[in-house]
Point group: C2
Chain length 167, copies 2
């Protein structure tokens, strides 16, 4: 068999996260629609714009390694998003939907953080500092998005769910 | 319809992570078997023992809320683990398998960190500091496992993959 290298793994993972970002881009409007909290709606909408930028950065990295941008079905993000959709279905009319949406968003961010973390380490190993730096810009935005969800969760949403429970 | 509360969301998420931990417990031996790096084998084996503890802590939390421990199929962890198995299949005989295994392990840890983070916040909101503290013990172990994989990746595995590529 042909020996697979770190280059192959990098490319496989790049296709995986390219699929994931595109799926996230299509899903964020559903999440924005499902929330009644303006801050959360705004966070999902703004993150969708950022996600467009993440897709474009990935296309730049494909170009850097001389490959055509290509997706590879990412079972992980499909599963994470399926769970988010299940939450919207099960809790969509209830007070705790907002809390569920924050958690769903954070699960997505954490998945991306893990994948970008690996890609950045490999890009450095493979002597592609420019690719590493581009991917790191995205990682920083994913981390900020996660922190923002944390803040919205702690300051608005969880308290709201509790108030409604007590009412 | 019956109004769903934060209690319902907490219970749903508890069943989800209970399923995930059990699945991880069954999967870790496959990951340990797939690596030839002793440090990584040891990390997966030790984390399996910790995972048994995580399962038991979840059972304690079920007891605290007066519910029978029950799983709920977690599409997210199924997807994340399916991707890890695909990596073993595609890269199992190659130099970069070790790098792929580290990344697969980190994707699992990040998923758990997101889920435990949410559960801890909700347990506090719901006035269950003891449950929050138990879940936080697990979160700390997941974070340590992620950091250990980071170290093994940076110090051993990625360099090894590069050496083999150059050879």
């Amino acid at each position: 068999m042909v020996e697979k290298t770190l280059n192959d793994l990098f490319l496989a993972q790049l296709k995986d996260i390219y699929f994931a970002e595109k799926k996230i881009y299509r899903t964020l409007p559903k999440m924005a629609k499902a929330t009644k909290v303006p801050e959360l709606k705004q966070a999902f909408t703004a993150h969708r714009e950022e996600t467009q930028g993440h897709i474009e950065r990935l296309e730049q990295v494909f170009e850097m390694i001389g490959k055509r941008p290509q997706t590879k079905a990412c079972e992980a993000i499909n599963g994470i998003i399926a769970e988010g959709e299940e939450t919207i279905e099960d809790f969509g009319e209830s007070a705790s939907i907002e809390t569920g949406l924050v958690a769903a968003g954070q699960a997505v961010e954490h998945y991306e953080m893990a994948r970008y973390g690996a890609l950045i380490a490999w890009a450095k190993q493979l002597g592609m500092p420019k690719a590493a730096s581009l991917l790191n810009e995205t990682l920083q935005e994913e981390m900020k998005a996660d922190q923002l969800l944390n803040q919205i969760g702690a300051s608005k949403v969880d308290k709201m769910a509790m108030t409604k429970m007590a009412a």
